[in-house]
């Protein structure tokens, strides 16, 4: 009789910032813990731990997810992009440049998640209006309350992107 109980661990294979990673993870392992503790990618932050604050936002196949409530096994066969994978070597993503230029970084704890959500937004809408940005970032909280500059940076980045296209 085959053992039909849930195996205690799974082998998962996922792309992380363009690199193929294969590892065994417990069934209950969260993507955030795998990224931070197994792969050493500390950019995504654990803050609320209940999918409210957005500090752990990463992209899975281009879509923003809260890695704190996303099982690592769900990422099997998919592509994960974290803040560490935004820049191309020393060449920063335009969003990273815009965040610095517009002063959209304060304590920095929300920054990784903000960048990843903004990345997803610009992929969807290359020139979002401020209203669109505000709506899209509703799942990312900034306790420094630096929202105005975040919106400025993303809108400017979108406009610049649109102008260059």
């Amino acid at each position: 009789v085959p053992d039909t109980r849930t195996p205690s661990s799974f082998s998962v294979s996922l792309g992380v910032n363009g690199r193929r990673v294969t590892l065994d993870v417990p069934a209950h392992a969260l993507l955030l813990d795998v990224l931070r503790d197994r792969l050493g990618l500390k950019g995504a932050k654990r803050s609320c731990d209940i999918q409210v604050c957005g500090a752990c936002t990463v992209l899975v196949d281009g879509a923003p997810v809260s890695a704190c409530t996303f099982l690592a096994v769900e990422a099997d066969g998919r592509e994960v992009l974290t803040v560490e994978g935004l820049a191309d070597g020393d060449r920063l993503d335009p969003l990273q440049e815009a965040f610095m230029k517009h002063g959209a970084v304060q304590c920095g704890f929300c920054t990784s998640g903000m960048l990843m959500s903004a990345k997803a937004l610009l992929a969807e809408d290359p020139a979002p209006t401020p209203e669109r940005v505000i709506h899209y970032l509703r799942g990312n909280l900034c306790r420094c309350t630096g929202y105005r500059k975040l919106v400025d940076a993303i809108v400017a980045c979108g406009t610049a992107h649109g102008d260059n296209a």
């Binding site: 560490e84 820049a87 990273q96 970084v105 960048l115």
Partner: protein
């Protein structure tokens, strides 16, 4: 009458912005040190109360627990800290310490003063 201003009126980039937008900035929660232990804070279920007594026995009996630390264990250091005024207790402090001699409310010390233990 004066040299041109180099800071006032200019947008000065943060010195740590690059670290932060690349995810390289390290926060306390990102640190991993050899032999590092994890702490669980026990917080008061009451908004405003005196600590009369702390009984650490059940917590200390949990497998893997290395230490239970209360305000009574802070005698070797200044139990207060703060960026401007050192008036914030590291752990809730009761006058008389964890033994709770009388459980009187603690008095916060003034900056530069001594802790009223």
């Amino acid at each position: 009458v004066s040299a041109p201003l180099r800071v006032v009126g200019h947008s000065v980039p943060r010195t740590d912005a690059l670290e932060k937008v690349t995810g390289r900035a390290r926060y306390v929660t990102d640190l991993e040190l050899p032999g590092m232990l994890h702490a669980k804070l026990v917080r008061s279920p009451y908004a405003h109360a005196r600590i009369v007594r702390l009984d650490p026995r059940a917590a200390a009996a949990v497998p893997g627990v290395r230490a239970v630390v209360g305000c009574g264990d802070l005698s070797g250091c200044d139990p207060f800290f703060g960026p401007a005024f050192r008036d914030r207790p590291i752990l809730a402090v009761v006058r008389g310490g964890a033994g709770g001699r009388g459980g009187r409310r603690h008095r916060r010390r003034r900056a530069g003063g001594r802790c009223s233990r």
